[in-house]
Symmetry: none
Subunit: 224 residues, 4 copies
DNA sequence: TATGAATGAGGCTTCATTCAT
DNA sequence: CATGAATGAAGCCTCATTCAT
């Protein structure tokens, strides 16, 4: 029994190690520029071992993408269900979610960011591809809902919520990518502060900029 | 002489054709998923001809990246030198620059977007790589200067200009990518409107949100 | 012009050389036991060159099988159209066809003999597979027709022509294989004489033999 | 003791099961297209267990071939020793032996049919290879002896007995293969009837046929 | 004794690059 | 200059075999 458990643990550790290495590499160099041999070497397993756990390179990639999409979905769903919460707060949480989870698993997040429809589609089975895009679409929809709620509540200006959702996702993904490049270039890690600045700008931009002086004072406190 | 000139013209046309085809393909499928044979076929030249004009696949890629960086640099330099122009207007122009030029040459812009330090570095000579990153750094610096000017002029809130510059670039790059994926997925092309919405949000977010009602009225006109 | 022609000739020579080597190897070791690297080495070309002329290993194999099937078909068709010719003579020609052509191109014939439905099917496209089996069926049919004619003419005993066709093909293929094995084992080449003996036995066995009614009656009892 | 016996029995059952599965698979797909994993799964043992009983894949294959050769040898020896029996009857028995035993164990017989000198030699140790070929040669010799006896007895025409032996073996092997392919193609199983038709034809062809001298003369001219 | 995870050699195929024409 | 056939390294994947348990 103890043996079986240990084996199970070891197996899981191995899978995790492979995923970690693969995620790092995919994130660093993109899907096609990473060879299975490279991944195997990074994970310190044999080439063959990769295929013990993942049917193919695509499967491995997918196994990295999929849980992130799932995770995002859940997170946002959770937040959105909180009807009490002001939408700007929700947005802040959304951004912070990335700022907080990204550093724990940057590689995997990046592999997701690196998802490019036109590059990936020919490599994946149609079903897999659709599965990913559908999930992504849902995630976008949820942000859209937050924005729409804000508009209904009169907190946000009446802007096309779908456009804002695109902007929000573009902004987050863009920043993650940007900061990663910066870090790689030797710059300091400023993900947290950049994300924070971004969400502040965004929320300020979205907000119905009030006429009352004290409102402004209140806002400037938040932004500082 | 006339012959020599014609030959020269033909040569240039050929190079242009190759670049166009290569740009389109790189943008569509990424660097590694495009073969030289594909590019040659698209440009209607022989594989060998590619190597007459470009030392390698990397060189060809670089030849696409480089002028864009140069172009960006010049454009922003131009704008920035216009000391009279309000910085928010400058930002608007910056975003519009992408919205306007991208559709003309989406391939090349995208090839630039795909430039990711860690992916590209192993493919390029160290010198080339440094050249590109240096150029990019300059571009970032120029946006930073615009923001700084806005802050000095009291038009923008006092936010770390470097952070804002990162955000601006992240946002633009993120949107281009995002919209490309959306387009590929069969969605309508909404690059123009998304960019416009984004810059409006950004400028509103940056602006010192005034207490005067009419200022607000003025702003909302711009945004609508 | 001369250059183009020479190139064409060289190309054809190369293809022929590849086919020759491939045929020899397939015949010797079967489809799956031969590697493309082996074929390339035997043909003294690079691995890549194989793919200049053949899309895949299967395609190469098919290119060896197909013309033989075609050839057989034509030959038998020709013979059969000769309505004047006694069927036993036709059979003799059929056997001699193999005895005569096999030594010129033993490898290719063997690659054909080596065709095994269950081994090949999973490796080939459904269409290719059907194409081959259909052609084979036609070839069998033609021999059947010869036998049927002989029976109608009263030259052959009334035996199920389809069974005889199977036997004829089995016999020819069996002998080619058998003799090849013998030759490989160091034995003398006796293909010609074996084939001749076989066809003599076969024709004698088929022929309405005895003049005496009761002898025939006796035989037919045995055969029924 | 009882335990030891049971273990022994279990072990033998296991070996038998492995051989059965392996034979079936080899027959269906050929030597190289069958993986050890496949065999293990079919036999419901672990991959490792295969190597407990067989040193290698080749050894396993050999263990299937060898007893058949042995069996053939014994059977024919038995038959031949029956000096009383008319040789045509012996031939009939020989053919029937295949027709009767093949369906019980088609896999193993086929694995034997696939034995082709040039394919197998590189896979086996020299000693093993020689062992198999020697055994086969003996088998051929025995058929030859039957034919020779028939000729001596005046029952068969005076034809080269060695040639006839080759033909007999070629015919049997050819038919087994042919019928297997037919069956795979969806056709009805006609092994029994085909074998019977074949032996009838063969015996008729071999037999000193006509009562009239000139008929025989005519024939013998053809055959010589 | 039995297992099956792990290994790594080797198979098919693609493709950047060269070079004879 | 231009071509495209040829090369061979490298990529993905399979599988016979081993070995720790």
């Amino acid at each position: 029994m103890g043996v079986a458990e240990r084996k199970q643990r070891e197996k899981e550790a191995r899978i995790k190690s492979i995923k970690k290495s693969a995620g790092r590499l995919f994130a660093k160099k993109g899907f096609s520029n990473v060879s299975m041999a490279e991944i195997a070497a990074a994970a310190e397993v044999s080439k063959g071992a990769l295929y013990l756990y993942f049917k193919s390179k695509e499967e491995l990639y997918f196994s990295l993408i999929e849980p992130i999409l799932e995770q995002h979905h859940k997170l946002i769903a959770e937040v959105i269900k909180n009807e009490e919460e002001p939408p700007d707060e929700t947005l802040r949480k959304f951004f912070n979610y990335f700022a907080n989870t990204y550093p724990n698993d940057p590689e995997v997040h990046q592999a997701y960011m690196y998802f490019r429809a036109e590059e990936i589609q020919p490599l994946f089975s149609e079903e897999r591809f659709r599965q990913v895009t559908r999930r992504m679409a849902k995630n976008v929809q949820m942000v859209e809902d937050v924005i729409a709620k804000g508009i209904r509540q009169g907190i946000f200006k009446p802007i096309n919520p779908r456009a804002v959702s695109s902007i929000v996702w573009s902004l987050v993904m863009g920043i993650l990518r940007w900061e990663e490049n910066r870090k790689y270039g030797g710059g300091r890690d400023q993900l947290q502060s950049t994300i924070e600045a971004a969400v502040n700008l965004l929320v300020d931009g979205l907000r119905v900029c009030s006429a009352e002086p004290d409102r402004f004072g209140h806002e400037s406190k938040e932004q500082s």
